[in-house]
Each structure stands twice: as C-alpha cells, then as structure tokens.
C-alpha cells in the first residue's frame, strides 16, 4: 500500500521540518500531522523527540557514507584524502541537514548539536579511529606523507574541512559562491598538505605518475572500504538505538 513505511515517512518529514523550522520550532504534532499519522504513532517508532531528530542527522550522515563507499568501490582513487574531503564537502552542502550541521546557518539546529555531541560521542570516537586507520593505510602504501605525525594529519584534515565550511559563512557579505570550484580548492589544499608529492617527473598541475598512484590506491582501497563499512554498521546500530525497544 505504502511506497515507504510509516517510519521512513516520519523520518523524512521530520528532516524537512527540521531544516525548514529549526530545532526549536519543530513539534512532534506537526511532524505527525504532515506525515499523516497520529502523534502517538511517532512514539511507536522513536523513543523521544530528540531521538527522532538525532536519527534524521544520522540518516543523512549514513547517506553521505554510502555515497562515499559506492565511489570508493567504483574507483580506488576515491580513497585519497583530497577526494574524500572534497566529495563530502559537495555532498554535505547539497544535503539540507548536513549543510545545517556543518555551517550552522542561523543556529537552525540549536541545542541538537550539543545533544548529538553527547549522545553520539562514542560514534564520533569510532569515526576518528576510522580516519586514523584510513590515513594509516594510505601512509603505508605511500599515498600520504609519513614525515609528519598521523594525529597532526588528522587534525589538519579536520581543520581544513571546517575552514571551508565556515569560510562561506564568515565571508557572507559576498555572493553565495558555487560549490564545485570551492570543492576543487579544498581538494588541492588537502592534497598539498597531506598527500605525497608527485615523483621526480612531476608537473605542477598534471597527473605525473598516475599509474603508481592508481595501483597503490587499488591496493589500499579494500581495507579502507572495510573500515568505513564497519562505521556504517555502527551508525546503523546507533540509529536502531534511537528506536523504541
């Protein structure tokens, strides 16, 4: 009968309402009304309102993660930090929820950020470890420099990503910029900061030893994909934890 289950419809509706009205104004009753169900029905699916909205965020994050995994499976070069970060940058800016999460436009998410920080602390820690393994694998196969500490590289990566998300907000006096060129700048910055410089025959902008890179990436990809598949599982578990027992 239904093209999607009640739960999914509620989740989708909650997401739309969250970005449209912001955390403070969203009400369970309105979500239920728009989803065409009774208020109590929402609580047949999720423990609390916060759990539902947390699930909205988790769901968007999972989407982004699945896209990432699909890309990495299709093309090993997508495991490179510059690719991962710039792709995520684009995906996040196109997803209303993730855009709000990262740019925090006018505080749409309100307290939800703090709630998520507390509630999802464990998941975030796992994410950090995943990033470490990711970078570790790339260092091992020579795609990421190993002349600086891995922890420093993780910090740098996050700082750059945060910077590109916030810079637009920071300079909001100007036009609302196009995503793609920005993503390319981001990719360039990450590549320059973290990835191994091209071989001795390198040209500044060209693709020098493309074959070596591709081969090494192909070697590292399966392990990296496995790491993020694990995160996807943990994320799915966490999402299930938001449901009513």
């Amino acid at each position: 009968m239904e093209l999607e289950g009640r739960g999914e419809r509620i989740l989708r509706t909650a997401g739309e309402l969250l970005v449209a009205w912001g955390y403070r104004r969203v009400t369970i009753e309105e979500i239920a009304r728009r989803a065409g169900v009774g208020k109590g029905t929402v609580y047949l699916h999720w423990k609390t309102k916060d759990a539902l909205l947390l699930a909205v965020v988790l769901d968007s994050k999972q989407d982004a993660l699945e896209r990432q995994l699909a890309r990495m499976r299709a093309d090993p070069l997508e495991v490179l930090p510059s690719a991962v970060m710039s792709r995520y940058y684009c995906d996040a800016l196109e997803s209303p929820v993730l855009r709000a999460v990262h740019t925090d436009d006018s505080g749409v998410l309100g307290r939800l950020g703090d709630i998520a920080a507390v509630e999802l602390a464990e998941l975030v820690a796992h994410g950090d470890r995943a990033l470490d393994r990711h970078l570790g694998a790339l260092r091992a196969c020579g795609l990421v420099r190993d002349d600086m500490a891995l922890a420093d590289q993780r910090y740098t990566l996050i700082a750059i990503l945060v910077g590109f998300f916030m810079a637009d907000t920071y300079l909001d006096s100007r036009a609302p910029a196009v995503t793609e060129p920005r993503a390319r700048l981001l990719a360039h910055t990450v590549q320059a900061a973290l990835e191994t410089p091209a071989g001795p025959t390198a040209t500044p902008d060209g693709l020098p030893d493309a074959d070596r890179v591709r081969e090494a990436a192909a070697r590292a990809a399966p392990g990296i994909i496995a790491v993020y598949e694990h995160i996807a599982q943990l994320s799915a578990e966490e999402m299930r934890r938001q449901l009513r027992p």
Copy 2:
C-alpha cells in the same frame, strides 16, 4: 602624573571587562568605575559604547599588525604566507580580545561581531585588497604559485585560518591543545597549498634553495611592508573616527 592617559586606561579597562563579562553584560558605568573616572568622562573620549568596544578590537588588531610589521622588517622571510598566518594565529590566541574575535567562545562578543562587520566593512575591504597585493607581490617574485587564481588563493588562505581557529572549538571534547605545534601545522598547510614547491633539489622537510627564497623575499618585502603600513594608517584613522569629534 599618569603613566598612561585617561583614554588609554579606559580602553584597557574596557578590553578587560569585555572579555571577562562579554558584550552583553559590560556597562559604561562599570568601565568608568574601574578606570577611576566618571561616567561622563568616557563620553569625552568616545562617541558611543559601541565605538569604545569597537576601538578595543581595533586596538588589538593594530597590536597584531604592528608585531607583524616589526617581524617583516626584521626578517624578510616573515612575508611568506605560511609565516604571516602562523604568527598571526599565535598572536591572536595570546590576545584575549582577538582570541574571542576568532573563536567566539560562548558568544562573548555577542552583537559586536555584526556591528563590526557593518562598521568596519570598508576597512575589511581594504584588508582584502592588501592581501591581494601581498599575494600578488609574492607571485611576481616566484614565492607563491601562479598556477591558480589569486582570488582562490585568498579564499584558501582565509579558509585555512578560520579552520584552525574553529577546529579547536569544534573538537572541544579534548584537551586545550598547545598553540605552537598547531601553528606549525598551520604553516605547513599554507606553505603546501600556496607557496612554490622547492626547486629540483628539494628535500621533503629541509630548506632547499633557501638562498633563492630569502633573496626573493628581501626583494618583495619593502612593497609588502608598505601595503600593511597603509592598512595600519587606515586602521588608525578608523580608530580616530570612533572618538568624539
């Protein structure tokens, strides 16, 4: 009689109170009391409360700019983007006011940020142009890559700086990190993203053609110093504009 004029004492007191209490709670009466002057006296010096607090910020910015100029005069290598950014990062984190400006811990500055954005828009625009000239000069003498647009480099620079300022806030679950190592990471990131890679004899971490770089920097330095001296003048003018006519 006085070791510092009344105006300076008021300014300093206002700065201390601003960071201690935040924009919302600070009152002119308390500033006057702590500075040991009458309330009306404050208005003999500054047009309005906002003008005074704006002057506090401008004053801190001028301090940082003077330090920057002093460094560039003492050592031409300090004109390199990596040096400028990492030095400013350190200076800003050590200055209570600038730290608040850039990390916006718990919204201490409140509306002041918006007020500054409006009131100092012209000065900021001049700052942007100064940065463009700065980068232009470095491109001209081969210290900054010219295989990407100058506007992109300016954006990248700002994004990286913002990222490093915000990353600490973003990951505040951890220990409050030491400034110096972070500044080195920042320098490395900027260098990798913007500055020309070392010559053919380059080693990953060493200083390859240090002499060439130093010489080129010495050639570019005077012009760049002049650009920022101009900004210092404009800033001083803007500060004077906050005074009572």
